[in-house]
Symmetry: C2
DNA sequence: ACTCTTTTATAATTTTTTTTAAAAGTATTC
DNA sequence: GAATACTTTTAAAAAAAATTATAAAAGAGT
């Protein structure tokens, strides 16, 4: 059986019995992917198929090379079970995390291990055929470098900033040169299925699958870097809205008397809270002679960017901390709106600013305490991501597997 | 077979085959409830069960009296099909719409027809054993008046304002005298299962099942009366949040320099936009001698309440329209936040103010045009409910049937 | 009148489950 | 420390359930 069989849903002109069998296989693979090695008995309970049938399905999957016999496990008071697990080398997933200035690539095996990882700096995102070509080249060279045959790749998962319509595979903000839709164009060129989504949403999927949102049903994931992104897990599912435009948290109104935003509106959250603003404010202060660790950067002709600011904060730089605190007051205000509307159980802060840890969490918490109805907000936990810079990349893997193994 | 069989999910200590059969029955009943009369062939396509099996399941349901043979239908080029439909008198649902000052009661049959309907005015909601008793009395007398045996009632659906945890059957804001949870207490007293939810969410369910949200996946329903409620359909499902506190739209921040809200925060949307404020402002103006149709009300010693204001607006009262327009500007601001965050395909305005029709829609639309990013908001349709005062009551029916017929 | 459809009923076959039994342990008792 | 009782896991046989295939019925269109 071809590896791709998992991917082929909604098969047409195929007997019903074939579809049903596929679904049964998928249930088993799904369970093993999400829960690790299991005995026949455990699978039976999880997938609600009878034991003789599960045994024969597992046999089939073993004969295809998709499952491996891991030998006997621990007994819980009777005969010791035979454990089975996914053959992690049976298939692979390519993860592509597109950022404004860098590109992260990875290849995952079915145990979610990154068997290849590359960070390409100074890979500036631009809407050109050239960018598209070199993106394809990078992926192709990764594939040939690994020497894994193309059929072994289940899909390519892509994370990209801006407005994305995942259902249609369209990226509206970036790479609109791909006229038939980015997913389609890349898929055709690579000969591998491509799955696309917005960076904040992809991060949310990463957190749900591998981070702090595991087993949570209503979680908001903030991507705090130069802008503000929001990915939402609601009722256990990623929320994308009608056109995939959901999550424009950066452009909600916070200060009606505030500054003009680049989006044309006044007082958007992003005019008050964003990495870009933070850096800008600090640069201006440094120019005016503000004493701060970051002033040394300038002397040494190093660039004061967001990474540098976060570093300074972690080193205890008083001025930078103050600036962040101010920002967090506004961010808290915005978050309160989200919490009042959606009553999530957890808010996860990710992106570059998440590296600041308690230096973000504490002031945001204070702001929330001030502005939120405590009955509602007290049910919401505020934490920093522990996947950090990896969350989008891990999210691409999560997105692919979620799509492939979904049961609908 | 007892009518209640549909309701009994997660049966324990029962053979798997029995559960599966129940699920098959439920699929068929579900299809007939949501789509009306159908032939065996149509059911086969919809529920994905083979034709011989569907035929025998339908036979069973007929013999239980749950289904009726509607005779032959139109041919589409071959033998004319035999149509089957739900026996609408096989079971009934009680709907209870609790408002601050009135109580709406109804009994629905399985064709969603209100076979009984009563509006009880001056039935002020208060947190007392007395209220609970007279609520039960009203329901009991309705039941005995109809002469339908208790077993025929599938469930009681209740809509109530305030914070509600539907999963647990708890009403936090009102009727907390019911110590074991309102749903439980009423259920025990009535001897019928009780389903509880917040009024705005219940309205959203009503709109999704019977109103303008049919076939839509992402819809926001506003309950604009004395306060502001919000019910959200996201990814086709009602969103309640972790504790059922989602939808506190009235308490999102709109004006940081604004007035103190009764919730303790400053500048909440409800301090700027709500029926209560509208009425208050108009009353004050009337006292100061403002020329308006509503001034006559005062002369005639009639009360200036929200209903009167809406009436005046519909009669073209310039001052009242102006006041509403002002309110709508703020409401639009708030809605923009929602639309940016959730990218819904439709926003439905319900509640007493929805009676004003275009007098709300137009100014809110204008405000949205001003404050929203048009790429996102242009995908969102803004309409008034056509269920109007019935939406919560219809929603209780929808809630019960959704719960009973869900396939999980 | 004939062919072509669609719907329904019946028979045959396949699939799946339940039942039963065997295998391989653990815990306990004497 | 072996024998026994009790578990859990797996395998095989028997029974049940569900589907596919086939045929018949009932009508539409030409």
């Amino acid at each position: 059986m071809r590896p791709q069989f998992l991917y082929e849903k909604n098969l047409q002109g195929v007997a019903n019995s074939v579809k049903r069998k596929q679904e049964q296989y998928r249930k088993i693979v799904r369970h093993l992917y999400y829960n690790g090695a299991a005995s026949i008995a455990e699978i039976v309970k999880a997938v609600k198929i009878s034991q003789p049938l599960v045994a024969s399905l597992v046999d089939d999957l073993m004969s295809y090379g998709m499952l491996l016999d891991k030998g006997v496990g621990e007994s819980i008071g009777g005969r010791r079970p035979n454990l089975f697990c996914l053959n992690s080398e049976y298939q692979y997933v390519i993860g592509v995390d597109i950022n404004l200035h860098t590109l992260n690539l990875a290849v995952f095996d079915l145990s979610n291990k990154q068997i290849f990882r590359e960070e390409i700096k100074y890979f500036d995102l631009e809407n050109s055929e050239d960018y598209l070509n070199s993106l394809v080249d990078k992926i192709e060279s990764m594939i040939s470098q690994l020497g894994i045959s193309r059929e072994k790749f289940l899909a390519v998962g892509i994370s990209i900033p801006g407005l994305v319509d995942a259902k249609q595979g369209l990226s509206h903000t970036h790479l609109s040169v791909a006229e038939n839709g980015l997913a389609r164009v890349l898929g055709d060129r690579l000969g591998i299925n491509v799955l696309l989504d917005n960076d904040a949403r992809t991060m949310a999927l990463g957190e749900k699958a591998f981070g702090k949102a595991i087993d949570k049903e209503n979680v908001l994931c903030l991507n705090l870097s130069n802008g503000i992104g929001l990915g939402m897990i609601l009722n256990g599912e990623l929320h994308s809205g009608k056109n995939g435009f959901a999550g424009e948290f950066g452009h909600i109104l916070i200060d009606p008397e505030g500054k003009l935003c680049y989006c044309g509106k006044i007082g958007c959250l992003e005019t008050l809270t964003s990495g870009k603003i933070l850096v800008k404010n600090i640069r201006e202060a440094v120019d005016k002679g503000q004493p701060t660790l970051l002033a040394n950067y300038k002397k040494e002709n190093k660039k004061i960017d967001l990474r540098a600011v976060v570093e300074a904060i972690l080193q205890g730089d008083q001025f930078a901390i103050d600036q962040l605190n101010q920002m967090c007051e506004y961010l808290g205000k915005g978050l309160v709106t989200l919490i009042h509307l959606l009553n999530p159980e957890m808010v996860i802060i990710g992106g570059k600013i998440a590296h600041a840890g308690k230096f973000v969490i504490d002031p945001v918490t204070m702001s929330m305490n001030k502005y939120a109805m405590s009955r509602i907000s007290s049910e919401t936990e505020l934490v920093c991501s522990d996947l950090l810079d990896d969350s989008a990349l891990m999210g691409t893997m999560a997105n692919v597997m979620r799509s492939v193994l979904s049961l609908d």
